[in-house]
Amino acid sequence: MAMLHLVNKSPYDTCNLNTASGTMKDGDQLLLIEDGVYGAIKNGKSASLLNGLKVSVLGPDLAARGISQDKLVDDIDIIDYAGFVDLVEASDKVQSWL
């Protein structure tokens, strides 16, 4: 896998998800963590930023924020911390959008 993009800020608070998704290349993956998980809410205005991307979201951060699976966009992988490590290991590079 080419690059793993990490987004940890709410798309309603910063433009990080907008920039990250706009610079992703074929084969790249996006992982939403911390407040970044709000970007995965299906009926939210920012959900369209994820169209056509390979996206994962960190389950413990979703649970902490009371966002249940049925609220999320389709075709999204919910992973745990071990899955996070696997994604990093499978990537050539990681870009953390702070």
Binding site: Y12, D13, E34, D35, K42, G44, D61, A63, A64, S68
Partner: protein
Amino acid sequence: MPDAKKFMYINRKAPYGTIYAWESLEVILIAAAFEQDVSLAFMDDGVFQLTRGQDTKGIGMKNFSPTYSALGDYEVTKIYVEKESLEERGLGLDDLQHLVWEDEDEDYAEKDSIHLVSRAELADLFAGQDVLFNF
């Protein structure tokens, strides 16, 4: 309370990414103890503070969301949630905690604390305050 001032706390940050939400809650509880006229507004990412079912075991942080349901006991009974912010984030009132207070003048009848308001209505509420705190 003839000398009570109207204090409004405006909460605009998501709950666990920064410490603002928790700090705001602490300040609100202190202010309520001084018998001021306290009201809360939740707008922008602040609406995420009130989601029901928060479970922080997996991230090793304190879950402070149950504290919101104690606000009624501190006579904090006016909680305004901005409709536009909720909708933009793909949420509705059903996704939030059901917060109530007991009205001692009406035989302790349970009443809703949360009022859904538009941005324009919130602007009117801001205009009627003596002091505003933004978190």
